[in-house]
């Protein structure tokens, strides 16, 4: 009877997992999805305690208690910005657990069950890779681990060796614990080599991939014990994680193979555009910009000549309207010489029927900027160039500017890092508060409109 109930409990847990992931993929129901998945997990754990012949209960409970405290504590205290690191860390823990199970289990294994044996070896290798890879990914995000160029062939050799060892252990007539440890060590090294050369910007994709791998180890562990909940949960996480990896890469306009198999040196296609000497401008994508805008209280748009060139006046008004619908206050900061003729911005914005009340003069705007969450500079350059204030040798020194870096965040929309009318570089683009959103103003703004609409 207990056994049957365990089966049913696992079955229900799997259904909860599926529902949980499903709900989690829609913004309105995401929180509910997380709770349902959690319920499924609690059920699965609870049920597993009824496994016949379970011993060391106290030890188990202690371990769980410690893990719970640690997990909760770190999750509650982590800073918003450090969350991806933490996810990576947690993921590594899962991989490590799977590898540890494999190690313990190896002792108990009947030597001749090649099927189970292979599954076990897979658990060991994948779990170890996932563990060490996750740790490096975390380090990279934290800024502790630097990018290192790694010879691809070396990496594959290491992996090959680990697999060869696994095959040897499987074929061997008697247990070879030492070889097993060696194999684990090699797999750990491969994990390092695998993640080391990938650029920090691509880490989220890598973490998603590693997460998918942890899912696979869960599934293999499930096979080992003929445990449905691990098997199914693992497959779900594995397949969902893989798709998610592809989607994330796509959203960043990268291909997965590009990310994984090109060293950061040559993969800096887009980053190079934002480099000036040793200064590097930080990029942002449309989605993240949309989030920043949609969840801001006050947004200021600073239009410049580029808005006119792109003929993006209608698009910017659309964005304004949709943000206002979401409760964001939007105004425009108009610099007196923005554009190429006096009143250029007025002509432009009047054409798309932007209300006159929303156009704020430079001096008034400079006072309002400190209370502004996001400034969106669209195709403007000289009129927001701090050199006008700071650099007496600059040709624009002495011109009053819109001091946009008084605001909390600055997003600059332009096509490249090239200069404006005055032909000079702009330190604003390298300001810690600034993110560059590259592209034609009209296209970018239309993209932002669709994104904000979906929120």
């Amino acid at each position: 009877m207990i056994l049957q109930l365990i089966d049913i409990g696992y079955l229900v847990a799997v259904v909860l997992f599926i529902l949980g992931i499903k709900l989690m993929s829609h913004p309105e129901s995401a929180r509910k999805g997380n709770s349902i998945a959690l319920a499924g997990m609690i059920l699965a754990i609870a049920v597993s305690f009824f496994t016949p012949g379970l011993d060391n209960i106290v030890l188990i409970l202690i371990a769980i208690a410690l893990g719970t405290v640690g997990g909760l504590y770190s999750a509650k205290t982590v800073q918003m910005t450090a969350m991806p690191q933490l996810v990576s860390f947690f993921n590594g823990m899962g991989g490590a657990a799977a590898a540890l199970i494999g190690l313990v289990e190896y002792g108990d294994l009947a030597i001749d069950d090649i099927g189970k044996g292979s599954v076990l070896m897979a658990s060991l290798i994948i779990g170890s890779v996932s563990f060490s890879g996750s740790m490096i990914a975390m380090g990279k995000l934290q800024g502790v681990v630097k990018d290192i160029r790694v010879n691809k062939i070396l990496a594959f050799l290491v992996l090959g060796l680990a697999i060869a060892l696994a095959v040897y252990v499987l074929m061997a007539a008697e247990p070879k614990p030492l070889f097993v440890y060696g194999l684990v060590a090699l797999a750990l090294i491969y994990g390092l080599l695998f993640v080391y050369p990938i650029g920090g910007a691509d880490m989220p994709v890598v973490i998603s991939l590693l997460n998918s791998l942890t899912g696979v180890t869960a599934a293999t562990t499930g096979l080992l014990y003929d445990n449905k909940v691990m098997l199914m949960g693992g497959i779900l996480v594995g397949s969902a994680g893989l798709l998610l990896t592809l989607l994330m890469a796509k959203a960043m306009n990268r291909s997965v193979s590009n990310i994984l198999f090109t060293s950061f040196g040559s993969a800096a296609g887009t980053a190079a555009a934002g480099q000036d000497g040793d200064q590097v401008a930080k990029e942002i994508n449309t989605y993240d910009s949309a989030i920043l805008l949609a969840y801001a209280k006050r947004v200021v748009v600073v239009p410049g000549y580029g808005l006119a060139v792109a003929q993006a006046q209608h698009a910017v008004h659309d964005l304004e309207k949709i943000l206002e619908e979401k409760g964001v206050e939007v105004t425009y900061g108009i610099h007196p010489v923005a554009g190429r003729m006096p009143g250029h911005m007025n002509v432009l914005l009047a054409e798309s029927d932007v209300s006159y009340d929303k156009l704020i003069e430079m001096d008034d705007m400079n006072e309002q900027l400190p209370n502004t969450d996001v400034v969106m500079v669209i195709g403007a350059n000289d009129v927001v160039n701090p050199a006008a204030n700071d650099d007496p040798s600059s040709p624009i020194y002495g011109m009053p500017i819109l001091e946009v870096n008084r605001a909390t965040n600055v997003i600059v929309i332009k096509r490249s890092m090239s200069s404006g009318y005055a032909g000079i570089q702009n330190a604003l683009f390298f300001d810690p508060k600034t993110r560059m959103l590259f592209g034609d103003a009209k296209k970018v703004l239309n993209g932002l409109v669709s994104e904000v609409k979906n929120m």
Partner: protein, 370 residues
């Protein structure tokens, strides 16, 4: 049929029929005579008319030969003498105003078709000179105002300071008023409009203008879209509301008319005194007495620093397109009147009945008979 186009007396610059219309009319078998230089002030030369099939003649010849005579301005006594019984006259005669003239014309025995009397029913829209000329006036009024205002219309934020947009108030949102709203909006002004008919609120807003609401107006659906006389109490309230808008405006364009009456005074002298120096009033109702105290018809005057433009002949200041539109209206009326080149005066037709003022020696226009 022999059609005759006369040259308009100054200051009128339009011409009744455009060469395009002449081409169509001669094409269907009519003969078209045109007085020498009739099109000159509309930038249409005699040569162009000849190309279209017209024959250039002297004024007298046209008056005597043509069976149907076109002149926008009513014919003067001199010309009338040259008319013989049975001829047709097409022009803008304002029969309800020029009652004496109607009587004398009836006596000459001509059939007078007054373009401004065409009933404003849906089918007659294409012949409606009031609408087409109001379109010109509404547009031109704004241009005149902008040219005379010592300020910019649009907002400009420049290195030499920020220029606030001009505030334009349109009183009377009929055809001319709506066109004025659209034009002023185009130029970047902040536009408000007022009308006694609350139903035009939506129309004003559909052009991006703001409607000044005065609660309690009477709208007579029976009046065919025209305004009706309002109660004293309402007029009082209206005046107060309007004053507020007028005082803060840089430009006021008035078009308020009630058919057959003197135009209502909406801007009083005391309001003028409170207006900004340099402000401009364009009074399109000038010919009917004006909506502004102090308006002089066809003159520009300055009172308390406010420029009041009483130019009621705005279509004449844009003769080429105004002629084109007027001619199109006439041409559309002729489609009803002429069967190829034969006249067909079908009094069963609401439009012909409403347009025909005198016929066969008598006045037959109903509003004049009552």
């Amino acid at each position: 049929m022999i059609l005759g186009i006369l040259k308009e007396p100054s200051p009128e610059t339009r011409v009744s029929l455009h060469p395009e219309a002449v081409k169509v009319l001669t094409g269907s078998g009519n003969q078209v005579l045109i007085e020498t230089g009739a099109g000159d002030s509309s930038f249409l030369s005699d040569a162009v008319y000849q190309e279209a099939g017209a024959t250039v003649k002297s004024r007298v010849e046209v008056l005597e030969t043509a069976e149907m005579i076109f002149q926008i301005t009513p014919l003067d006594a001199e010309d009338q003498k040259k008319l013989s019984r049975g001829k047709y006259l097409v022009g803008v005669y304002q029969p309800l105003v020029a009652r004496e003239l109607m009587k004398s014309l009836a006596e000459t025995g001509v059939t007078l078709l007054s373009m401004d009397s065409i009933p404003r029913i849906t089918r007659a829209q294409s012949m409606d000179v009031l609408s087409s000329m109001s379109t010109v006036s509404g547009y031109k009024a704004v241009l005149l105002a902008a040219a005379n205002l010592p300020r910019f219309f649009p907002m400009l934020m420049t290195a030499a300071g920020t220029i606030a947009p001009a505030k334009v108030l349109i009183i009377g949102a009929g055809v001319a008023g709506l066109q004025a709203i659209a034009t002023a909006k185009r130029l970047g002004a902040v536009v408000e409009a007022f009308d006694t008919r609350p139903s035009v609120k939506e129309q004003v807003e559909s052009l991006g203008g703001k409607f000044v609401e005065v609660p309690g107006a009477v709208e007579d659906k029976g009046a065919g879209g025209y305004a009706v006389e309002q109660s004293e109490e309402y007029k009082q309230k209206q005046s107060e509301m309007l004053e507020k808008s007028i005082i803060k405006s840089d430009v006021v364009i008035t078009t308020a008319l009630i058919p057959g009456r003197k135009a209502p005074i909406l801007i009083t002298r005391s309001m003028l005194e409170k207006m900004k120096a340099g402000a401009v009033v364009v009074d399109l109702a000038a010919a009917n007495g004006g909506n502004c105290e102090g308006t002089e018809n066809n003159k520009t005057v300055t009172l308390s620093g406010v420029t009041i433009i009483g130019n009621s002949a705005l279509p004449a200041s844009m003769p080429e397109d105004a002629s084109k539109m007027y001619s199109k209206n006439v041409q559309n009326l002729l489609k009803l009147l002429l069967n190829e080149d034969k006249i067909n005066l079908n009094f069963e037709d609401e439009i012909i009945k409403g347009t025909c003022i005198t016929h066969d020696g008598a006045i037959i226009y109903e509003p004049l008979l009552k």
